[in-house]
Amino acid sequence: MLEMFYVGFAQVLALKPLVLIFLGVGVGIVFGAIPGLTATMAVALFLPITFGMHPVEGMSLLIGLYIGGVSGGLISAILIKIPGTPSSIATTFDGYPMAEKGEAGKALGAGIFYSFLGGWFSFLVLFFIAPPLADIALKFGPPEYFSIAIFSLTLIASLSTGSTIKGLMSGIVGILLSCVGTAPIDAFPRFTFGFRELDGGFNLLPALVGLFAITEILKTAESDIEIKLEHIANYKIKGFGFSAKEFVQQLGNFIRSALIGTGIGILPGIGGGTSNILSYIAAKKMSKHPEKFGTGILDGVVASETANNASIGGALVPLLAMGIPGDTVTAMLLGGLMIHGLSPGPLLFTTSGNIVYGIFAALIVANFVMVLMEYFGIRFFVRLLKIPKHIMLPIIIVFCVVGAYGLNNRVFDAWSVMLFGVIGYAFEKWGFPLAPVILGFILGPIAETNLRRGLMMTQGDFLPFLTKPVSGAFLVIALASVVYSVIKERKRTKG
C-alpha cells in the first residue's frame, strides 16, 4: 500500500496537478462561502473542463473543488449567519452567536482547524476500508450488485428530508428518466418517441447541472434575500483561536463527530448536508451542558465542521470500492471518472490503482491547501460575498450551458439541462427531495442491468437473489428501512 502512495504522490506533486488543486480548492471555497452555490455545483461546472486532462489531473481539480466547497460554508455561516452550503447549517447555530460575542476569529479558526482534522480522519478510514472492501466486492456477482443498488435507493429515499413517500417517488422518477434511451442487455429503444437524439438517453452531466444549478438560479430569482455587508460580523484571526486545554476538552466531541460524519458519508446518498446536523444534535445530547448550545460555544462549531468534512472520505468509500456514489458530489465524481473511460468499482483498484492512489494523494494535498487558503485568504473570500448575485448567477448559467454543450457538441444536451432544471425547480416547490432523483438516475440502470444479467445466469429464477447471503441481507435491510421510515412517519403525522 505504501508503494502505491508513492506512486500517487509522484503523480500529484507535479506543477500542473498542484496548480489545479489550488485552483480547485480556491474556487471550491468561493462556491462554499457564497450562499446558494454548493460543492455539487462547483464540481458539475468544472467537470467538462476535465475532459481534456489526464485523469489524475482532472480528479485533482475535482477533489480540490469538493474539499473547498464543503469547507467554505463555514465562513458565511459564522460571519453572516447564512450557511454557505447545506453542510454548514449547524455551524450557524453556535458560530454566529460566537461572532456576536466578539469571538468570530475563534469560531473561524476552530472551524477551519476541525474541518482539516475531520477530513484527515475520514481519509484514514477511506485508505484502510476501501481497498479491502474492493477485494470483497470483486467476488460480488449481479445479484449482489442488484441488491446493493436497491438498498442504496431505499436508504436515500427514506433518509432524505421530508416525507418518505415523496422521497421514494423522487427515486422512481429518477429511475424512469434513466430508462429513456437504449435498454441494457437487448438494446431496444425505450421512451424515445421516435427522436433519434434520445437513443443514447439523457447524459448524467446535463441531468446533474440542470437539477442543481438551474434549480438554484430559478430559486434565487424568486427569493428576496440579499446579503447586506453591514451584517458581516467583525473578525480577527490569531492562531487558531483556541487553547491546548480547549483542544483536549473537545477531543471526545471531535471523535464522535468524525465517526458520525464518516459513517453518514459511507451510507449511499447522504453526505455532509445531513451529517453536520446529526452530529450537532448528538453533541448536544451527550453534553454535560446542553443548555449552552446555541449561545455560542465551541462545541457546536467543532461538531458541525468536523462532521461535514469527515463525510468527504466516507462518501468516497462506496464510490471507489463499488462504484456507488455516497452523495451528490461523488455522483459527479463518478461522472468525472467515467468520461475518462474509467468505471469506478472493485476492478478500479486492480486496473487503475495508480489513479486511485492519485486520488488519495490529491485528497491529502487538497486538505492542506484548504487550511492554508482559508486561513490566509479569509479576507479575500469575505470580500467575494459582496459580489451581487444577479451578476454571479447568470454567469454560472452560461458555464452550465457551455459545459453541457461541450459534452457532445450538440444543443440537445443543453436542452436536457433545461428539462432537468424544470423538473428540479418543480420538485423543489412541491416538496420532493432532489437527491433521490439523481441517485435513481444512476442506480436504476445498475439495478436493472444486474437484475437481468443475474436472471440470465439463474435461468430466470429470482430465488438466488434472496438466498445468497450478501444479496439477501441487503434486500432485507432495504425492506426494513422502508418499513421503518413509513412507521416513523405515521407516528409523526399522527402524534
Partner: protein, 164 residues
C-alpha cells in the same frame, strides 16, 4: 397554509398517478425478446406500478391524513401580493431568457447570444435600480473571456454562428 399544502399534495398525487398510467401505456410499445424472462419493459412497468401505488398513498394521506408537520409547509407565508407577483415575474422571465438563449445559441453563435442573454438576465434579476452600462460591459467582456477560455485554453468546441 396547511390546508394549501394538503391540497397541493392531492393534486400532485393525482398528477403522478396519471403520469404513471401514461408511462405504463408508453411502455407497452417497447419491443420484446421472446426468450428472455424479463424484457426491457419490465423495469419501466414495475417503476410505473410502484409510482402509481405511491401516488395513491399520497392522495390518501392528503385526504385523510392529519395536518402535515411544520417541516413540510412552506416557510414564508405570502407576504405582500406585490412582492409575490414580482418574484413570479422574475422566475418566468428568467425561464424565457434561458429558453431563448438555447434556441439562438447554435444559429446566432455563442459570443452574441451569450452577451445578450447575460445583459438581460442581469437586468431581470437586479433588485435595485439597474445600471445598464455596467451590465452591458460585464456581459460583453464575460462572453468574450469565456469563449476564448474554452475554445483556446480548454479546447472545447462552441458554436461560432454568424461570426464563424
Amino acid at each position: 397554509m396547511r390546508v394549501d399544502a394538503r391540497k397541493r399534495d392531492l393534486y400532485l398525487g393525482i398528477g403522478f398517478l396519471l403520469f404513471s398510467i401514461g408511462v405504463w401505456i408508453a411502455s407497452l410499445s417497447i419491443k420484446h425478446l421472446v426468450v428472455a424472462r424479463i424484457s426491457s419493459s419490465f423495469v419501466p412497468q414495475l417503476a410505473a406500478i410502484i409510482l402509481a401505488i405511491l401516488s395513491i398513498i399520497l392522495i390518501l394521506q392528503s385526504v385523510f391524513g392529519a395536518p402535515k408537520s411544520s417541516a413540510e409547509t412552506e416557510p414564508a407565508a405570502e407576504q405582500e401580493d406585490q412582492s409575490v407577483s414580482k418574484r413570479k415575474r422574475r422566475v418566468q422571465l428568467t425561464f424565457l431568457l434561458i429558453l431563448f438563449y438555447l434556441l439562438f445559441l447554435e444559429p446566432v453563435g455563442f459570443l452574441i447570444t451569450t452577451a445578450l442573454y447575460l445583459f438581460f438576465q442581469f437586468w431581470v434579476l437586479s433588485r435595485r435600480k439597474p445600471n445598464l452600462v455596467v451590465y452591458a460591459i460585464t456581459a460583453i467582456s464575460t462572453s468574450v473571456i469565456i469563449y476564448y477560455l474554452f475554445v483556446k485554453v480548454f479546447v472545447l468546441f462552441l458554436p461560432a454562428g454568424i461570426l464563424g
